[in-house]
Symmetry: C2
Subunit: 343 residues, 2 copies
DNA sequence: TTGAAAGCGCTACCAT
DNA sequence: ATGGTAGCGCTTTCAA
């Protein structure tokens, strides 16, 4: 498999393969000179260890599986970026698979990666159900089961860890801001159904509505999937509502939906924020460049990815760390203002 | 490594491991009943082949390495999506690494993946130099060298294939359109230095300027890196130019830069397209949702990814296919119009 | 049609 | 400090 193997080096150096292995690993006690000599020789011969053979004997591939819903989603891409950096720093490589937003294919992808003997698995923005529990029972070096860490979907369980945001608090902060601006009728443009984060953000909306003296259910919920296209449908619904009862502000599931909404509002000549205040979620890089710039809830996405890897690696060595819950932060830009006519 | 091995099944079935291997592979001549019996047993015992062991003996991992400049770039994400689908369909999995836009780290990442015994390698939007030629010499099952395919950077060479766009034609089409609108002073907001595609697009600009009767060098080149932030710098430069000589239209290296430019123009109260016409490149999903919607050169991104995988796989089996060159298509939306005052 | 045996490249244990 | 040897799980000759 490799052009030059440990045996070749052994022959060339006149020592045994075991010695070469040790010299290269620096592992065992071996004379400094021998080690240097062998290492030099290996380098000179262009030796590259065969990870496959190594994995076979050590029982670990130093590979983490990562299944994403859709890498085209900026949020996902950012999380993956963070994960890649952390994994690489720890000597792990990422095996990548996408579910293309289909829960069935998500499970399928996870199973595929598990079959590839990954040492652990990350699922970014999981939509999947508890079937992950099957995965964790798979073999691992120490027979501990495959560690699985879910980002933004806490189906916690044995060997299934999670790293997530405090969605409820994030949404509350956004709504509190909108309330402080004077908005009384606030809508929530929802994310994918069954998604935990959308559910939690809606709860946060309602919590804050209630806390600020509005009926808990006064928050109009518009269906969506967290995509650019959601905006047009939302505006269509909104237009059917008489202006006096129409929401004056919308909290969107994510920045992508908010951007879609921005475009859709523009199409029907609604000025943002004058005619409609919009708040996004995620704070993707693009959100600072929309017109108007998006007020949004920042999520420490790269950190999320990093933490997911850390959590996975910790579980791997048998010292699992508690599930992390990060908090967001409202970034105030220009897409939300006081409603045109108070009320 | 796996909880149930081929030997376990053999024992349970009272046959030899070789028989089990054959039954499972369907490979050799084996009695239909035995095969069914063994397959059922394997399934029932929850057998999962150990890919690592298999790879060690077959000499192939059925894994493709993919190194990207930055997965956060929508163009890259789309190409990767296409590649993932194609790879998966062919029974390959993707090992992922990012260069984070650093040429040094790109080579490093490629070497890392090569060390992981990938069967082939894709580089999306390579910035790297000809050192890829070192990679191709690495071992492979048939000793043919590691097939490398570069997307959007044709450092062609032995075993280094490429799949790319006809950048020159794409840029020409954009400039021809701008010229037809009446623009005489057209600028090009460049992409990353050393990037082949930026270079080619600039050539296309100049070709078309010349072909349409303007001096070849009349195309003002603004520096950029293909990122959102490029816009602000470009506007700063533009503002220093007297209005009468200032370019009335800009072709951007990509949609991201165009979006940044849109925002920067808005900041200084330039109306697009009235005061400045902007044309993007890539036709990322977002480009249809900007305000105004971006006129841009469409690139069949997912197809690019698919082709890259096909090309890699073809090289793998020893029947390399010719490097693909796809053509783009101008998508006319609302960010470009006739210049305000003809001139 | 099936089994025995070798070996992929490496690590790790047991000698020395 | 170094060498011999076994074996990771699988595929693949070669025999029977």
């Amino acid at each position: 498999m490799t052009d030059v193997s440990i045996t070749d080096i052994a022959r060339a150096a006149g020592v045994s393969p075991s010695t070469v292995s040790r010299a290269l690993a620096g592992h065992e006690r071996i004379s400094a000179e021998r080690r240097a000599e062998i290492q030099a020789l290996a380098h000179q011969m262009g030796y590259r260890p065969c990870q496959v053979a190594r994995s076979l004997v050590t029982g670990q591939t130093r590979t983490l599986g990562v299944v994403v819903t859709d890498i085209t989603d900026p949020f996902v891409a950012e999380v993956l970026t963070g994960a890649e950096v952390a994994a690489r720093a720890a000597g792990y490589t990422l095996l990548f698979a996408s579910s293309h937003r289909d829960p069935e294919r998500e499970i399928e992808a996870a199973a595929l990666l598990a079959g590839r003997q990954v040492d652990g698995m990350l699922v970014i923005s999981s939509r999947g159900d508890s079937r992950y529990c099957d995965l964790h029972r798979r073999n691992t070096p120490a027979g501990k089961g495959l560690p699985v860490v879910l980002v933004n979907n806490d189906q916690s369980g044995p060997q299934v860890h999670s790293v997530r945001m405090d969605n409820r608090a994030g949404a509350r902060a956004a709504v509190a801001y909108l309330r402080s601006l004077g908005h009384a009728r606030i809508a929530f443009l929802a994310g994918p159904e069954g998604g935990r984060s959308s559910e939690e953000r809606l709860q946060g909306c309602r919590d804050e509505m209630e806390a600020s003296g509005c009926p808990r259910e006064s928050c109009l919920v518009l269906p969506g999937r967290g995509q650019l296209e959601d905006g047009a449908a939302a505006v269509a619904v909104l237009r059917q509502i008489a202006a006096v009862t129409r929401p004056t502000a919308i909290l969107c599931y994510n920045d992508l939906a908010a951007m879609g909404l921005l475009a859709a509002a523009h199409q029907v000549a609604w000025q943002v924020p004058r005619d409609l205040s919009i708040v996004g979620y995620d704070n993707i890089p693009l959100s600072a460049f929309t017109i108007p710039a998006l007020t949004t809830v920042h999520q420490p996405t790269q950190k999320l990815g990093r933490l997911a890897v850390d959590s996975c690696l910790a579980a791997l060595v048998g010292t699992p760390i508690p599930d992390a819950v990060l908090t967001g932060e409202l970034i105030i830009r220009d897409s939300a203002s006081a409603p045109r006519a108070a009320g």
